[in-house]
């Protein structure tokens, strides 16, 4: 297990290095110059700025400096907000995205647990049919449409009740979180519901569930400890990609609800060609996802004794 763990961590580090390198070189293909973007700057100031950002050095040297800084966890200084470090910007905006994403994930998991269980227990009856139909619609409608519909609904609701039940957009209070988090979680919820329903139906036919019933265990115990517990393993194995999906979805939901998250900031930074912010955010997200995927892989290996023990032996 130790060796396996070390191997995986090493591989993750190499992957992060690859992401960082790919980001660096992709960025240097971007046409245009971050310094002479809009206004014309006097030659001398231009040179000073170039030196400040190290843009006057050859590409190889720039890469080395960039890597050196990354190793120290330093993403550099923003091009458009010269007094702010990229680390600060990420810290400020990512916390917003993280809260939103976490809540969306919780929504998605709870929803999937409830709908998946209901559908598998009442299989081929109306709760199942309704769930399957709902899932099909929810995975086929883009998240921004759901977000827009939610806004429309909030506006109507506020108008109907005559007071502000929920804010239409923005950020800052608890009441701002619910609608965007729910909309962000909806697609993931549908995806996980479909997965969980399928694996619950598979495990329902497993002899160990029948054996548990034959031992006279209460129905809820048979369901939770025998059926659901095994059915959750496939769900756990897709948690890494699922979190990546929620992160991606956040870009759009933040846009629609005007939430100052990292996704929205990234889109603005791209529009303004803020090199360091773009690179920093990409590497940050890349590393974040690599770590999340690794963590869930390890968690999966731990949760399934068949894998855990076979790894022990090697």
């Amino acid at each position: 297990m130790m060796r396996y763990l070390l191997n995986r961590i090493l591989y993750a580090i190499v992957t992060i290095w690859f992401v960082a390198t790919a980001t660096f070189f992709a960025m240097h293909f971007v046409p245009g110059d971050p310094l002479s973007n809009e206004k014309v700057i006097p030659e001398k100031i231009y040179a000073t700025l170039q030196a400040y950002y190290g843009l006057d050095k050859p590409l190889g040297e720039q890469y080395l400096i960039y890597m050196q800084r990354l190793l120290q966890g330093d993403f550099g200084v923003s091009f458009t907000q010269q007094n702010r470090s990229v680390n600060d910007i990420i810290a400020e905006h990512f916390s917003v995205s993280a809260i939103l994403g976490l809540l969306a994930l919780i929504f998605a998991l709870f929803g999937a647990l409830i709908f998946g269980s209901v559908a598998s227990i009442w299989r081929r009856r109306w709760p199942d049919t309704a769930t399957v139909l709902g899932v099909m619609v929810a995975v086929s409608v883009p998240s921004f449409v759901f977000a827009a519909l939610a806004q429309l609904f909030i506006v109507e609701m506020n108008q109907f009740t005559g007071w502000q039940v929920l804010p239409v957009a923005g950020w800052g209070s608890i009441s701002h979180i619910w609608a965007p988090a729910l909309m962000l979680g909806l697609g993931t919820m549908a995806f996980l519901t479909r997965l969980l329903r399928g694996s619950l139906i598979d495990t329902a036919d497993q002899p160990y569930v029948l054996a548990a019933q034959a031992r006279g265990l209460p129905p809820w115990r048979c369901f939770l400890r025998y059926q659901l517990r095994n059915a959750l393993l496939p769900t756990l194995s897709v948690m890494g990609p699922t979190i990546a999906g929620i992160t991606t979805g956040g870009f759009v939901v933040e846009q629609v609800f005007a939430i100052p998250g990292l996704g929205r900031y990234f889109v603005q930074a791209v529009a303004q060609l803020d090199y360091t912010v773009i690179m920093g955010t990409t590497v940050f997200y890349g590393a974040f996802l690599v770590i999340v995927v690794l963590a869930f892989d390890l968690l999966y290996a731990w949760a399934d004794p068949r894998i855990r023990i076979s790894r022990d032996m090697t």
């Binding site: 992401v19 046409p31 773009i278």
Partner: protein
């Protein structure tokens, strides 16, 4: 197991697919959709970039009959000015059409001036709306010509004192009639003397720039479907070749090739889509479609490569392949006759699922303004245009959103059906 290279396999798959009424309905609708998008623009020949300035953001169900008015006439107030002197300024509408709204009121001797506001649907319900004019104490009429549309307005006239503080307000609701100026009517070569004309039909309405939604939806569909089908086709083929090569060579080469796959999969997809999209750049006048396709291919190929490699490794262990090898079948024969046809099944299913996800990605990127560049329409960018006008013109968001959702739904359903039809192989394994 039935050898999939056998024609019977595909015949069985096709037969099972045909028996699935839902699948056939999806297939027919998808073919219809693609045909409509390809042939549609020649049937509905309105230029998607033409702006119908008289019909800006008109809804599909709105009236198309417009009155012709003389918009050049200089209005000098109502013929009969209401008498001054009463204690309140009673606001009234003299005439209201989309070329001009004429308001008048009784002068109030105590008021030292007036402010006029216009509120319309979608504005903050608590506000008075947009300030239209600041008027003198002696004024008793106003002509509003600012960006008028055939929707409900609420005008508010504030009577103010010397300091500009509100004394009282008068409100009036009005819905301007659709109108066309004589000048425009002449340009559109409509016979002189006509008092009403029929404006061009827009079955799905027009957008905020007065462009025909149907024409744009069809052209946008070409863009969205092209990206959605072509890019996955390319990266599935590349992934197939890559995965097959990796599996067949095996050993260290396989290990290295698969590490590369792992690395590329680890890249944060959407961020790199944006990065590539920006790095590949769009010169002025370019649509950004090529950049999107290249970015999709660059990031999309690893999943099919992994799938194909896994399938080939699995198939190689199958007894019948083993048997063929023992009987002296050559590598080349095995690949062509057994491996590739067998792998094609899973590749076809994942291709069917790759299409909706590519359509989603395009819509996503265009929605946040990182995809197809205006004026080239795509369903995603049309949604982006629509969302800011969701409250006033819901049809601008509704139609492109429906187009995306229905297309994606159909491809998803077809993919499910195809996977079920292919499942005979899993059963026979």
């Amino acid at each position: 197991m039935a050898n999939a290279a056998d024609h019977r396999y595909w015949a069985t798959v096709w037969r099972r697919l045909k028996a699935d009424r839902k699948a056939i309905a999806c297939l027919v609708m998808l073919v219809g959709l693609i045909l409509a998008v390809v042939a549609g623009p020649s049937l509905w020949s309105i230029n998607p970039e033409a702006q119908f300035l008289n019909q800006i953001a008109s809804s599909p169900i709105g009236s198309r009959t417009a009155i012709v008015v003389d918009a050049n006439e200089l209005w000098t107030g109502p013929d009969k000015t209401p008498e001054a002197g009463a204690s309140t300024a009673r606001l009234s509408v003299i005439e209201a059409n989309t070329e001009f709204v004429r308001l008048s009121w009784r002068q109030d001797t105590s008021a030292k001036g007036y402010q006029l506001y216009r509120w319309s649907e979608g504005m903050n319900a608590a506000s008075l709306g947009m300030p239209v004019a600041v008027l003198e104490a002696g004024d008793s009429w106003y002509e509003d010509r600012l960006n008028l549309r055939p929707e409900r307005y609420e005008y508010t006239l504030l009577a103010v004192d010397e300091l500009g503080t509100e004394r009282y307000r008068q409100q009036i609701r009005v819905t301007p009639v659709l109108a066309m100026s004589e000048f425009d009517a002449e340009l559109a070569s409509i016979a002189e003397g006509e008092t009403t004309i029929e404006l061009p039909a827009h079955p799905l309405g027009t957008d905020h720039l007065g462009r025909d939604m149907l024409a744009r939806l069809l052209e946008g569909g070409q863009v969205s479907l092209f990206i959605g089908i072509f890019a996955p086709l390319m990266y599935m083929l590349f992934g197939l070749a890559y995965g097959a090569t990796s599996a067949l060579i095996g050993g260290r080469v396989d290990a290295i090739m698969m590490s590369i796959v792992d690395f590329v999969i680890a890249l944060p997809f959407l961020l790199f889509m944006i990065l590539f999209r920006v790095a590949l750049g769009t010169e002025p006048g370019e649509s950004g479609i090529a950049a999107l396709v290249i970015a999709l291919i660059a990031l999309g190929w690893p999943s099919p490569a992994r799938l194909v490699r896994g399938e080939i490794l699995r198939l190689r262990e199958m007894p019948y392949i083993e048997a063929a090898r023992l009987m002296g079948a050559g590598q080349r024969y095995l690949i062509l006759r057994h491996l590739i046809p067998n792998v094609m099944g899973s590749v076809l299913v994942s291709f069917t699922f790759a299409i909706p996800s590519a359509i989603f990605t395009e819509a996503f990127l265009s929605f946040i303004g990182m995809g197809v560049v205006p004026p080239a329409p795509s369903w995603g960018s049309m949604c982006n245009d629509g969302i800011s006008r969701l409250l006033t013109n819901p049809h601008m968001m509704l139609f492109p959103a429906l187009a995306i959702s229905i297309t994606v739904l159909l491809f998803n359903l077809l993919g499910d059906a195809l996977r079920d039809a292919m499942a005979i192989r899993r059963g026979a394994d």
